[in-house]
């Protein structure tokens, strides 16, 4: 993204100036601190929440939330209904103002980012205009986007060429979602925000949707999507933000979040002819649960590497070893339960 802006500026330079500035900018960019927006926020952040809260009367929808999105990330916004995801997205897009704290997009206000055509948005439901054809609606969206694409290209990317002449009010739920997706990708946006994009899609449609979405991520765009399908966050996102009761309770890769919630399962068999003292299992590090039935050993551990190293050091010979991660779903339940418990204390 920076590179593109730089190139624009260089078009007016002569060759010597070009060489020098390229070096300067690239160097600064690597350090990631020298380039700053008009209000002093680093330009390499796509979006930032700084201690953001939003309350409606006595209800705190979001409290003290802080995070930064970086260019090229695909980020899942995960949480049950009522966790504050939608309110956070509304604030991110400037549809709602935070009660406290600060929200910036590309170092400026959300509105400015939208005016500059840097943000494409796919709303969860509605947002479509009846009495027009798909081509007319998408064409309109392309036209008002400051960096809009040709309508045919957008229809093709969203794989809805066959719907182009259909009336928007006569589409099925899944087809509507694809039109919404087309609206979100009607221009050269740097950030694409999707609010529960696959709601109402069947499994095939969801897979098709995410493969199209992946192409957007591969093109270098930053993607933020809200979802309550954990497997989607697990499969697609390289970073997961977990919201629960208005608080951001976890922020990391899906693997980190699973690790934080505990975990991995190890299972293996111990055969008597291999020797070794099975009672040593009780002394293994990092284990959270141990189950020995017959020759089969099942262990839950917060550090599979340390546990397994200790198994070998103890002179045991595990056969049929399997180490599996727990699903994000289990991790999610663990983390939200922890958060609820912490709140109770």
């Amino acid at each position: 993204m920076e590179a593109r802006h730089c190139c624009r500026a260089f078009l007016t330079c002569d060759s010597s100036c070009m060489t020098t500035s390229t070096e300067t900018v690239t160097g600064a960019d690597r350090k990631g601190s020298a380039i700053r927006g008009a209000n002093g926020h680093p330009m390499h952040e796509v979006a930032a929440f700084r201690n953001v809260s939003k309350h409606f009367g006595a209800v705190k929808a979001v409290s003290g939330s802080s995070f930064t999105l970086h260019p090229g990330e695909t980020v899942a916004f995960l949480g049950p209904n009522g966790a504050g995801k939608s309110t956070s997205i509304d604030m991110l897009l400037g549809l709602k103002d935070p009660s406290e704290g600060q929200v910036t997009l590309f170092g400026g206000t959300p509105r400015q980012a939208i005016m500059d055509g840097r943000v494409g948005v796919m709303l969860q439901s509605g947002g479509l205009l009846p009495e027009v054809t798909v081509r007319e609606l998408v064409g309109f969206s392309c036209k008002v986007h400051p960096r809009g694409y040709a309508v045919d290209d957008v229809l093709k990317t969203a794989q809805i060429q066959d719907l182009a002449d259909r009336r928007v009010d006569r589409l099925s739920g899944g087809q509507e979602q694809r039109v919404r997706f087309a609206l979100a990708t009607s221009g050269d946006s740097d950030l694409i925000v999707l609010d529960e994009p696959t709601t109402g899609m069947d499994v095939n449609a969801r897979q098709a949707f995410w493969s199209v979405m992946k192409a957007q991520a591969d093109a270098g765009r930053t993607i933020l999507f809200a979802t309550h399908y954990l497997e989607e966050a697990d499969a697609i996102a390289d970073r997961v933000l977990v919201m629960h009761k208005g608080r951001l309770i976890a922020d990391g890769t899906a693997a980190e979040i699973k690790a934080r919630a505990g975990q991995r399962r190890i299972s293996f068999d111990l055969h008597p002819q291999d020797g070794g003292d099975a009672s040593l299992l009780n002394a293994l590090p990092a284990i959270t649960a141990l189950d020995v039935s017959g020759s089969t050993v099942r262990i839950s551990t917060s550090d599979a590497d340390a546990t397994m190293a200790a198994v070998y050091r103890a002179g045991l010979y595990p056969r049929g070893l399997e180490v599996t991660g727990v699903g994000l779903e289990q991790a999610f339940i663990t983390i939200t339960a922890e958060a609820t418990a912490a709140e109770g204390n």
Partner: protein, 239 residues
Amino acid sequence: MSSLIRLEVLRVLRNRRYLFFTVIFPVMMFFFYASTNFGTTTFNGVTPKTYYMVSMATFGTVGAALNTAMRIALERKSGWTRQLRLTALPGWAYVLSKVAAAGAVTLPAVLAVFAAGMAEGVHFPVTTWLGMGLAVWAGGFVFSAAGVALGYAAAPDTVQPITMVSYMGLAFLGGSWFPLSGGLKSVGQYTPVYLYNELAKYPVNGVSVGASQVIGLAAYLAAFAALAAWLYQRDRKAV
């Protein structure tokens, strides 16, 4: 901006309800009145045919303008207004496009009723036709403003009855169905459709319009526009 107006005009013209209430119904009503024998009476100095031609043209125009209310209320509910706020279009572009589209789609209604009038033997110099057309068209913006205000004031499930009742009530008090007299006139003459009908007949010879009527209509425009602006701001904060 212009693409949004174009989209709006397309949508309204495709809407059968629009076609019926603003074009077909007024034309039908005009033919109905035109076939009635009023003898040699004149209504406020114009022939009955002229009277009804003008009042049916304004009736269609008010219908088109108030129809805006239903569209805005529905589009607020459906999230279209939200989607628009996520485009680079300025916020007021939506309201402006509604008013502009209402102004554009009013023309077929006016032309249809005037054509019906000509077919029924109403004839005027070209300048009078143009003057009347212009007055009907320009006056329609008063009701576009009212439509915008109503669209932001009412919920989607109540906007339709409210709009229809206001529409019919204003047309009745405005003398669109028959010339007002007596007590009805003492009330009706201050209502916006009445002033609008008077203004629209101004270009006809022998009809006089006082400055007070023009000022009255302008005051309605200012009031509706201010109300619309306030309700629009309130809506943006609430979303």
